[in-house]
């Protein structure tokens, strides 16, 4: 297990390194001058030069990339713009703030959105999948299967607005989505995010319903389940002690990937509900050609994906001892 973790972590670091380098290089293909934007109106050539120097963008691209990498470990200084201490992911051209601080500011919202909706879609998805598997071929199964088919084809940029129209504007049952930190007021936190949670969950539940159903149908027909039944174990305990556990592996896998995607920024969701999370930050920074910020958000998203991939494989091995981590 230890060797597995070390090996995979090293692999993940290599991938992140490559992704950051690719982002860095590709971004310089945009013929827009970030110094110009940072300098603002009434910019004289001397000021522009100074800004370039302060932002460290007067060096060749590989040198800049090296400075950026070095900054993560030793921090860096940006002349008049101030210092950026040890884990320094750079300094935003647009907001004139260190990148890491801005991302950390936006992250609680994105995490709340991700984990809140994950709870809803896991409970509903696995629940309805179980019912569909146990009642295989009966009406419950048909309803769950067809509902999940339609729900998975819904798009957040459509159904999000429809939900806001009916639930907020017409019926007034829910509040307009807003974010209050959990520590400040848990009730407002939940009520402000309830609508995005439900809408996200509506779309994402379907996957879990289908996956749980097909996995359970398969495990319920395994020999060990039949043996347990034959030895007189009640179907309820067979279901919850053996079959359920056997079916969980693939669900853990897709859950890990989905959670990583959500943490990396539910870009469209945050735009639809006007929430200022990491996803919105990404769109804004792209529009402002704010390379350090884009790079920071990209690393966060890619980092979430590679980390969760490792976690998923490790958890998978714990759930299913047949899988060996080699």
């Amino acid at each position: 297990m230890f060797r597995f973790l070390v090996r995979r972590t090293l692999g993940a670091l290599v991938i992140l390194l490559i992704i950051s380098a690719v982002t860095f290089w590709l971004f310089y293909a945009i013929p827009r001058d970030p110094a110009m934007m940072s300098c603002g109106k009434n910019c004289t050539p001397d000021m522009l030069k100074q800004v370039r120097h302060n932002l460290d963008i007067d060096h060749p691209v590989p040198v800049q990339y090296w400075y950026w990498l070095k900054g993560i470990f030793v921090g860096r200084s940006y002349g008049d713009f101030g210092n950026c201490s040890a884990p320094c992911l750079g300094y935003s051209f647009a907001n004139r703030e260190p990148v890491l601080g801005t991302i950390l500011d936006r992250l609680p919202l994105t995490l709340s959105l991700a984990f809140g909706s994950a709870v809803v879609f896991l409970v509903f998805g696995i629940g309805s999948g179980m019912i569909a598997a146990v009642r295989q071929g009966k009406w419950q199964d048909k309803v769950a299967s067809s509902a999940s088919l339609v729900a998975s084809s819904l798009q957040i940029y459509f159904i999000g607005y429809v939900a806001m129209y009916f639930l907020v504007a017409k019926l007034g049952i829910l509040n307009n989505p807003s974010y209050t930190p959990l520590t400040q007021n848990p009730f407002e936190w939940a009520s402000g995010l309830l609508l995005p949670w439900l809408v996200l969950a509506l779309i994402w539940t379907a996957n879990y319903t289908r996956m749980t159903r097909s996995q359970l149908v398969e495990t319920l027909s395994e020999d060990y389940v039949r043996t347990a039944r034959a030895k007189g174990m009640s179907s309820r305990s067979v279901f919850f002690r053996f079959a359920w556990r056997g079916a969980m592996g693939p669900i853990v896998t897709i859950f890990g990937i989905d959670l990583a995607t959500l943490i990396g920024g539910a870009i469209i969701t945050e735009s639809v509900f006007s929430l200022q999370g990491v996803g919105r930050l990404a769109v804004q920074s792209v529009n402002q050609s704010d390379l350090p910020m884009v790079l920071g958000v990209t690393l966060l998203s890619a980092g979430a994906i590679v980390v969760f991939n490792i976690v998923v494989d490790a958890v998978y091995a714990v759930i299913d001892p047949r899988i060996r981590l080699a």
């Binding site: 590709l26 971004f27 088919l149 429809v162 129209y165 398969e218 027909s221 990404a282 991939n309």
Partner: protein
């Protein structure tokens, strides 16, 4: 092929029995000489859901192709702002004056708030743009994925290792974020920063960017398939008879790969339709005034709380298309690969 396991799942398998109307499995294997393609077609024709969804999908493609013709017969186009010629169409707040978004015998699907364009033709042309881009991206992605995957799997060794690492990296890229980040890069390659970007260029850039991130999963799947096929006797036999690698790839390997290729591309197309619309919604894909599914939704989002009707047309038609295409994909998979379980 794996031997069928004696399990309760067995009766679920689709088998072929022409005498009864019921769908059942490879009972006819060897007894009659029918090509796998014909067998799949027979299985597909018997699947009612599949046939109906195929008609729905064909309907969408027909109206997309025939959009200019339909618009001509209907007598309107998606660009004219009808409200400026006829101010009565919009009320004082620039919302459609008539009920239900201004639907009437003249404007079948109503008129757009603010600018007063015709919703029906805008939707038709929007479907045309979206399906065109998604289809092109699907073709390009599939071809690229197949070529790269088959090459890696067939050559093996260092090429395979190298390609597999690239696939790993591409799959770890946060794709939506990269679509957003690199659309400006691709535009920048062709157009000076302050110039207007022509629509055709936007479409080409979208197709390129969608394909650049889409090929990896197909390539990975096909690489795995080829690794398995490469060691099979018929490939050995072909090699012994002196067949060229080209011949082996096209005559021996490819015929065995059609099923996964078709299945993967039926999964890709609806995904590209929704991604393309999502990018337009975020303002980085196709933009107004070019008609597009995503552009319509983005316009609809601006005034959804006052006039939801406008948004319902692109929204519902897209859901119908995606549901139908997914159902069709499931049926195609069942027909081509009767042993697969959903």
């Amino acid at each position: 092929m794996t031997p069928p396991t004696p399990s309760t799942a067995a009766p679920l398998e689709v088998t072929d029995d022409t005498a009864t109307k019921s769908t059942t499995s490879d009972g006819s294997k060897g007894s009659e000489s029918r090509s796998p393609g014909r067998l799949a077609w027979r299985r597909f024709k018997r699947d009612r859901t599949g046939v109906i969804s195929a008609y729905v999908v064909i309907f969408f493609f027909v109206i997309a192709i025939a959009a200019p013709l339909i618009a001509k017969l209907y007598g309107k186009n998606p660009y004219t702002t009808y409200a400026s010629a006829n101010p009565d169409l919009l009320d004082a707040f620039s919302y459609p004056a008539g009920p239900n978004g201004g639907m009437s015998s003249q404007f079948w699907f109503g008129i757009e708030p603010q600018l007063g364009r015709d919703v029906f033709t805008f939707l038709l042309y929007g479907i045309r743009t979206s399906l065109g881009i998604a289809t092109a991206a699907t073709l390009l992605t599939t071809v690229a994925g197949v070529v790269i995957g088959v090459t890696a799997g067939y050559l093996g060794g260092r090429t395979d290792y190298f390609v597999s690492r690239i696939i790993d990296i591409v799959l770890s890229f946060p794709s939506t974020l990269f679509f957003i980040a690199f659309m400006p890069v691709v535009y920048g390659i062709f157009v000076a920063p302050d110039d207007n970007i022509p629509t055709s260029l936007r479409a080409i850039a979208l197709i390129l960017v969608l394909s650049a991130f889409g090929w990896a999963s197909i390539a990975r799947l096909l690489r795995g398939q080829v690794l398995g096929l490469r060691e099979r006797e018929f490939v050995e036999a072909a090699k012994v008879t002196g067949a060229s690698p080209m011949r082996i790839v096209f005559k021996e390997l490819l015929p065995n790969l059609w099923t996964p290729i078709i299945i993967q591309s039926t999964l890709l197309l609806p995904a590209f339709v929704t991604t393309e619309a999502g990018l337009a919604f975020l303002g980085v894909g196709i933009i107004d005034p070019t008609p597009d599914w995503g552009v319509m939704i983005q316009r609809g989002a601006e005034f959804y709380s006052q006039d939801l009707t406008f948004m319902l047309f692109p929204g519902i038609s897209m859901v119908v298309f995606v549901v139908a295409f997914n159902l069709l994909g499931d049926s195609v998979r069942d027909a081509l690969d009767p042993k697969s379980k959903r």
